[in-house]
Point group: C2
Chain length 321, copies 2
């Protein structure tokens, strides 16, 4: 065993930056978040943004091991790190880490910065899929996912702009698929004729949402989307309910398709997302016949800590240097 | 028989205005088109827009019968005319016509202006659907649709922003369903992450389109949409092909769902749309196992002429006055 070394976990995505200063046991000692996602970093000067966000932490922890996940490792990020193909467990992921050669390394010679790869999978022959960032939430949630035994299969849904449905078995992510649900909802409410019908009420897991789920699950998504307009015209859908109904149509379509797509559909699906979104997905899943286990989505730091532990194993570091 | 009276057919939709001066036999003597759709008429002053568009025709035809279809008869138009429920034939449609009381009637006392109702249908119990304008294309195309005998069933697809699939039997539209395909394509290419990947090449009925059709027909639309991004990232889809591929995904999903939704799926589907769009739908339909009959979409004036003929039948006019 190596001597404990401070770990800083960074989840740096498209629209947000989250950092966690972790103790030797992985407990969060300090954390901060900002909206400095990679698309908002002026001129792509990630080194400056990084220094501004957590430079003080590095001063306090001159031997820190920084492990970063998310879009920061994409082509548009600080350093591109190739995807690890599924099935992939924490050791395989750690073997794909890339060390960043950064301009401030002379100022903090004892600090190492590593970037985690994303995952790739095939949702069908020839049809690739990718994730960056969500894998650390999945690995962080592993203890809760596979409490029944490490060989147990589990399916976890991470709802969002690009919802991910991942299958987990034996501590590895065995495959996953992405659904563009959140982004399609956003563009329809922002730019389509449906958006012009809506009032300000946010989507809620109400009876309108449940009607939408049932219709969306039927399959003809492009047809039932239009019903959000024709029902308002005919007076059978209040304008205040359009967001809930539209949200139900899309989430119902996603959940139904995802359950069909699974090779081993489980009786229970784990949810890992923002509470408001988890609430909608829980209703959709239950209405479509699935039991639900809601998990805390703030677990990326735990996944990153597990990766850092493997880095702190001297063999791994030696192998990769 | 009444004496021949000049008929002016007007197809006034959301984004365009089309007018046809018709001879006693229905042949087009003159026509004009502009982009003065109802959403572009300043201050909703339809009377002024109408006078500017065809005032000279009214001067030349002081006893004209003007028959208008499209969104001009909607709540946002000049005068709202209630929808006629399906099944609906030309006589039922004519019975739903509403005469417009317009400010310039004193200037042209011999001119009558009538507005055609749209159609309504139930795509499923409690799920209403509506059309305004397309019904005149369908009725205009009737001679080509039911050439095999007036009792023959036919299915006609009118691709577009809101694609319509209508069933026709015995000279009546028996039902229809709307698919938001064109609008979803527009918002995705204009406002989503997929749009940012695209180059300027327009969608074409090429091998990428055909791949999209096959995948879209599988059903999990929100998942296969994301493949337009992941395949670009993985180098298996060129950016120049994203439009064709996305178009294929959406049209494939629409066509497959529409064929499933039909109570009596025919061996042949009639297409009534812009030539470029008809070409895409023809490939999608053939790839999904359907024969195709492409029709001329510029037939709304013929439908309106048929409605006008029923108006010119004195009994009908007397009944409605």
């Amino acid at each position: 065993m190596t001597a404990p070394r401070p770990v800083i976990a960074v989840d740096w995505g498209t629209s947000s930056f989250r950092a966690y200063a972790l103790g030797p046991d992985g407990a969060t000692q300090d954390h901060r978040a900002s909206e400095s996602g990679i698309l908002r970093v002026a001129g792509g000067d990630f080194a400056t943004a990084f220094r501004q966000q957590i430079g003080d932490w590095l001063d306090e922890r001159p031997d820190a091991l920084v492990v970063m996940s998310g879009m920061i490792g994409s082509r548009q990020g600080w350093m591109e790190v190739p995807y690890c193909p599924c099935p992939c467990d924490l050791s395989m992921l750690a073997a794909g880490l890339k060390r960043l050669d950064w301009p401030d390394s002379a100022h903090w010679p004892g600090v190492e910065v590593w970037v985690v790869p994303g995952l790739s999978a095939e949702t069908a022959p020839g049809l690739p899929d990718v994730m960056r960032g969500e894998e650390m939430q999945i690995f962080g949630a592993l203890p809760d996912l596979s409490a029944e035994g490490s060989g147990e299969r589990a399916v976890v849904c991470l709802p969002g702009t690009h919802s991910k449905w991942a299958s987990v078995a034996g501590g590895a992510v065995t495959g996953f698929a992405t659904y563009m649900t959140g982004e399609v909802y956003d563009v329809l409410q922002g730019h389509s004729i449906l958006g012009r019908l809506m009032t300000a009420e946010p989507a809620a897991a109400d009876a309108w949402f449940e009607q939408g789920v049932a219709l969306g699950a039927e399959g003809a998504l492009l047809r039932v989307l239009f019903s959000a307009r024709s029902r308002v015209l005919s007076g059978t859908l209040p304008e205040s309910a359009v967001r809930s109904y539209l949200s139900g149509l899309l989430i119902g379509h996603e959940v139904s398709a995802a359950l069909c797509d699974l090779e081993y559909p489980p009786a229970q699906i784990a949810l890992l997302g923002a509470p408001a979104l988890e609430a909608l997905y829980e209703v959709a899943l239950r209405n479509l016949g699935c039991d639900v286990k809601r998990l805390d989505a703030e677990v990326a730091a735990q996944g990153l800590f597990q990766v850092a532990r493997r880095l702190l194993d001297g063999d791994t570091i030696a192998r990769m240097r």
